[in-house]
Assembly symmetry: D2
Homo-oligomer: 346 residues x 4
């Protein structure tokens, strides 16, 4: 049994992780911590867990908690983990961080986009970017995994094979992303109220969203050079789901079959990536509640561009599911263990 | 392995049943039938099942299909099963019917409320009403189970202990029910369009809904007499979930603790019924995607009434989940096998 | 021109009132006050008003503001107006209060249900309950109008003629009410977040909601005696709209035509009350954005009860529209002036 | 009084037009036609119009109906108007066509994208493209106006000044559009059911949507050359609203102030176009129910692109409101008559 602890277990991502680990046959949840709800029954914060979780939320003294667990998940605000991480902790316990603290290798870029100083840059180099399908080997050896962002996972996986194979000009990439409201978290803000989100769609973080450098870094590795992309997130009136629509110039004339073959060469064996059939485009509802990423593409000969569409559940493959997948890799479990639930419809 | 077939597998209830049986470790789905989509890949009708179900939908010749299965689920329109059921079929295969054909013991009441003649009344007596928590023993011996309606399951289980114990006057019972749109099925009707349902709530079937006699019959058994209730369903702009708010006169002055003790004596050992803590009232979101029924109550001393609130997922405990639970009982599987998934939030 | 000021203009009700008065040809808005947004451009708080309202929100020194206006609307938290109202103010300006401070004649009942002391009980007797269709005459003479609650307006108008004519036993009345989320206001609370409200329905304030005594008082006047009712509100995932479903025992056997005639005798001449055609039941979408109340009923001979259904837009007839209607009455304007917009669909 | 008739008055756009004309002080609606509901009371099809519209829907014999009206609006399927239009009709009555029949000047492009033969190409040249802010003069002289599409109006107006002034490379334009479900009409299709649209977002018509050539033609006029753009529509779970996010290469280095000045030079005097303040991006909720288009932009120096965002209500400025605005221009009414309602929030 893998003994797991979750810091920040009462945010939406933390709660989803709790639910997923609860259904994992080789995981024992040792403690659930929450700054906001310390001392309260977990099930009083998430009544869906009534009679399923009897424990109370504990405070988050990581040094103490580290002694009881094999792995700690941190679903915490930016900067939190960086402010408390020490070698002493990492030498006792593996850490999967759902925040952005160790995702970006260049500290100055992190500090510029996140507008906070990085408190423990010494661990950045060691941290492995936890995009399972791409960094599988390193993840399995890692002590510290930086679990990718929700927009990022979807954006990167959708374009990765084409960038890697040089089929598209990475600098021409425009990513128009749409997300459900759970991505904004459970904080009480006017802008997240039902009446503000419902019956509305808006762009936000235009040319300024923090997931931009993460996408650029990872796709830059694939491209073999520094790249700059446009990334625009939108808030959609639904609970879960991310859809990305990506536009890029093809570097040469290619057929549907050639592009499909490239995708298949990367993803045909992947359990959690489904490249859909011709002219069937991803919908977030088809992956809701699952760890799948659905992907497809369309060549537009009129403009010489290719349009890519990807979809995932932001709380599962975009957060908690991928975190559990990383855990499986790190502890030698079958990679899909505890994650093979089918999407529900409707 | 239990070999299962589903007739009507492309309606919402049939699709949910398909999803649930797919995750059941002792069930093998032998075929999926669909009148509307015969010959088409199941996953082209429900793209969430892409790469999970490769089969095509078959036509529904029940006599042929019966030879391949141990149990047949019929998620079909009213009157369909009654029109084709024969002893020859029932002697080969167990049947769990998600339609209303065998729910009501008095044919004349069935024919009055459903406005169709019953084509095989000879099987009505044998059919067991598949409300697992109440008829567990008979279900385990049955060849033919009438799986209860979604509104009905929620309405009955919420009031059952109090009616059975005579704590409320069953004739004073008023059931105000609210349902998500999946209860209306996948048929293409103007009234079910997004723009008609969204941002709207309405009552329908006022004093005339077909689930009324089913509730009256079952709670009448509990009361030991014929009863008449008011039942009013409402359509709520959400996909899943039923909430019932029930009002009844208390037959005597009782305390919270006394009523709670009655509920506990019936439900404390039930895996899928959760009586919530004092003053915590059920919300459909807390049971979404699960087989749970959540229940609570409030005594109003000012009016001498008690208010009961119950919630379930209409496609799970209100249809497919309960059907699978019935199957488990009929085949000697652990009752909760394949049904122990936690509700997701949000 | 009627010079109007709005205190609490940045809540949802205050904003709707601002929008309605903006379209009223004989009203000039003199100032908009807001505690939370003092000094900010109104249109920066409600961007829908960009280029339509250029003013900034002012602080709410009522004594100063009273000098500039003929009428003040207070869309403020419970207890606020009661804490500052003085004869000096009332002698200068008429007041229409959208809070509950002067709705209930018995101070002890107010203090019991609202759990706050009443700071200016001396004005309670003078205040007129602003249900236009019932208290039209007194409203036209009033200095201080207590604008009814949203649930209350719908609940009372739906049952009023039958209670007044003694056709139903008022003590048997059960009101099951459903509201959109704007009724909960614009305060930043976790329970009002999109992901908490969306895809969910719940009861709240069971046997304890503050609108109960208001309904009991007003329908008690109609019944000519003190009455007790059950009132249960529910939160529905939509922005606007209230639907009430009411159940009561008929005091004698009556026909559809007899009940219809009673409704018509009260409401046929009312511009904002529509008694629908037989068997057509109100839906909130049909009144959205308008000042209408839609009503219908169904006699259930099986149980001897009648089921009443009423619908309105909680921000219009349930708050701001009714406030404007009261203003029209108080200032001798045509009662429907500025309120004759048709409901939009979808 | 302008005597108006509406063909196709029971679709969503026709119904919105009916509602808008009902509130126009100089319009008298002479008849409402509907193929699907001929002979039925209009208010039984749209219950929101109960007691507001007493007429029944008539059949659509255009030749007869033309005699009774000054203007006919056709909110009909593609090809319908083209199949019946004759000089005889046009010599009696002005026509505003909400379908695509006369929007595209090149018949072969129309026939290629719409896959139907054009039955009356002789009127194409005469027809004026009814984008009021751009073709105001010609519209005021026209007998036949081709009312623009919803996506098109938003896409064009958002980019027009920058294309016209050569600030962006029109061939680099990528338009990622998001629409509410009312754009899909009131036809009963599975894909438009509540449970299919709700909690879901999808792209459709990828690289193949019919509004593409309309955008290319109109922006081509502005660019002074033929252009090709990418246009991808998405379906968003909300009733109304279109948001477009557009990406283009700047042709030279420009400042925020310079771009803003360009927009202002085109739109500052326009009543229905609001260029928002710096860094405030349009949201569909802010224009809902109004005839406004909200627009803003962001220069991304990192990539050399500019991101434009536009929003409108697809049924108002995207259909019925613009049709009424065109009517005002054609009949010498003040252009904004009957259209000056403020957006409602929430």
């Amino acid at each position: 049994m893998i003994k797991a602890g979750i810091i920040g277990s009462t945010g939406y991502a933390g709660a989803e992780l709790t639910r997923i680990l609860l259904g994992h046959k080789n995981v024992e949840i040792k403690w659930l911590s929450s700054k906001s709800y310390t001392g309260q029954a977990y099930a009083s914060v998430y009544q869906n867990m009534f009679e399923l979780i009897d424990e109370k939320c504990v405070d988050d003294n990581m040094e103490d908690l580290a002694k009881q667990a094999d792995v700690i998940f941190t679903a915490t605000p930016q900067g939190y983990l960086a402010s408390i991480l020490k070698e002493e902790i990492l030498s006792q316990v593996k850490i999967i961080d759902l925040s952005a603290d160790y995702r970006i290798k260049d500290v100055s870029i992190y500090e510029k986009w996140y507008q906070i100083p990085h408190k423990s840059p010494q661990f950045i180099k060691e941290a492995v970017y936890g995009l399972c399908e791409i960094n599988r080997e390193q993840i399995s050896q890692a002590r510290l995994v930086a679990n990718p962002g929700c927009y990022t996972t979807c954006s990167i996986l959708t374009a990765y094979p084409l960038v890697k194979e040089g089929l598209i000009d990475a600098d021409s990439l425009i990513i128009d992303a749409k997300s459900g409201a759970s991505g904004a978290g459970r904080g009480a803000k006017v802008s997240n109220l039902f009446c503000e989100v419902n019956e509305n769609i808006k762009a936000y973080g235009v040319a300024a969203h923090r997931h931009t450098p993460e996408i650029e870094e990872q796709l830059g590795y694939a491209a073999g050079k520094e790249i700059k992309v446009n990334f625009t997130p939108h808030l959609v009136p639904m609970n879960r789901g991310i859809l990305v629509t990506e536009y890029a110039h093809l570097t040469k004339k290619v057929s549907y079959e050639e592009v499909k073959a490239v995708y298949d060469s990367y993803y045909a064996a992947e359990k959690f990536i489904r490249v859909l059939e011709k002219d069937v485009f991803p919908e977030t509802k088809w992956v809701e509640g699952s760890n799948f990423v659905d992907i497809n593409f369309k060549i537009d000969e009129r403009t010489g561009r290719i349009i890519l569409v990807g979809a995932l559940d932001n709380l599962v493959k975009g957060a908690a599911g991928q975190a559990a997948q990383n855990m499986n890799l790190m502890f030698g479990e079958p990679e899909a263990e505890g994650l093979l639930f089918a999407p529900a419809f409707p």
